[in-house]
């Protein structure tokens, strides 16, 4: 990040490479629209570059970037609430941008993959139903780089409040997914 601060674009590119997926995971699971999520994720990195001079060496980079990602995502949600009919694409001046090339990572051909895909969809649905803070806390919990203290900083709450958010999120998920969860086997699939 110090190199980025000095305008090193190669260092910035490697930062993008490293953090693009974690940032996208967080943004996408909040907005549920891959195109808009990718736009926001791009803006997160643009913001990182533009604000690099404000970055304090004492701060942890992952905490900083997740805070930016969360703030921009919340701004987008507020914007959507104010202008429900608008799309980010409609306001984007980057009309000459290439069409987004999304990698197709899922191949649900075999029956077990289909079941796995369906279980995953149930989990995604349950996560989507969580309140924003609980969902963000739960998703950040998957990131190895972030400690509970870092998550608390991103969420702007205390350590105990952060743990409580994760606990409540997990309790909700367990309740919702109880019929499907049993050491990784989907009960409905066993007893349709």
């Amino acid at each position: 990040m110090l190199r980025v601060k000095q305008g090193d674009r190669v260092a910035f590119e490697s930062l993008v490479e490293k953090y693009k997926q974690p940032v996208m995971n967080l943004v996408f699971r909040t907005l549920h629209d891959p195109t808009e999520a990718e736009d926001i994720a791009q803006h997160v990195f643009v913001q990182v570059y533009k604000s690099a001079h404000r970055y304090e060496v004492s701060a942890k980079f992952s905490t900083w970037i997740f805070t930016i990602a969360r703030n921009l995502t919340l701004n987008e949600i507020r914007r959507r609430t104010r202008h429900p009919a608008d799309s980010l694409d409609a306001t984007s001046p980057e009309d000459d941008q290439p069409i987004i090339q999304v990698e197709d990572r899922k191949h649900f051909s075999a029956p077990d993959n289909v079941l796995h895909g369906e279980l995953e969809a149930k989990v995604e649905e349950a996560i989507a139903g969580l309140p924003e803070k609980q969902r963000t806390a739960l998703l950040m919990c998957r990131e190895d780089e972030l400690s509970y203290e870092d998550m608390a900083k991103v969420l702007g709450c205390s350590l105990s409040a952060t743990k409580s958010l994760i606990h409540r999120a997990r309790e909700t998920l367990k309740q919702v997914l109880k019929p499907y969860l049993r050491t990784g086997v989907w009960r409905e699939a066993e007893n349709p």
């Binding site: 643009v46 980057e94 987004i100 090339q101 990698e103």
Partner: protein
């Protein structure tokens, strides 16, 4: 091992797999608390599901798109700065206009009132001067100054009767 250590191990398992030593301690505790076994299994199952959540779809040219967006953004910012360089005072005015407006209005009213008062005053003075000049010009012939040579003595006389007696 007590309940709080169980909770601690539970929180640890949210972040990473337990070490063999932690696992042994946990299994020992669960053996002593069989009622917690089902809860732990559910907990573990959820942790596994969350750990294996698929990554969000991401375009393969994401990084190059970021760099392109960044270049466009920087170019736009640069041209905006160049364009706005000479208009900084306008921005300043725009920023402070709401605060300056009442002050400016009060100032304009005060200046107008002062100018109006001064004009009015000058007009009145001119009018008075004209009146005096007219009076002087149109007045009948004034008596000669010699007539006032005894003015002081006459002024000192206490009553009209004394004056009449003096004249006689």
């Amino acid at each position: 091992m007590n309940e709080s250590i169980y909770q601690q191990l539970r929180e640890t398992s949210w972040r990473r797999k337990l070490t063999p030593e932690e696992e042994t301690r946990l299994q020992g505790w669960l053996a002593a608390h069989p009622d917690k076994q089902a809860e732990w299994e559910l907990e573990q199952s959820l942790t596994e599901q969350l750990r294996h959540l698929a990554d969000a779809p991401l375009s393969s040219n994401f990084t190059s798109q970021v760099m392109r967006t960044l270049d466009a953004e920087l170019a736009r910012q640069e041209s905006r700065q160049g364009r706005d360089g000479g208009r900084n005072w306008l921005q300043w005015l725009h920023k402070f206009a709401p605060r300056l407006a009442p002050v400016s209005l009060a100032l304009v009213v005060a200046i107008t009132a002062f100018v109006h008062y001064r004009n009015n005053d000058q007009e009145q003075q001119q009018k008075q001067l004209v009146d005096i000049v007219n009076l002087v010009v149109t007045a009948p012939d004034m008596p000669s100054p010699e007539i006032l040579q005894d003015f002081d003595a006459i002024e000192k006389l206490p009553t009209d009767e004394d004056l009449l007696a003096a004249l006689q």
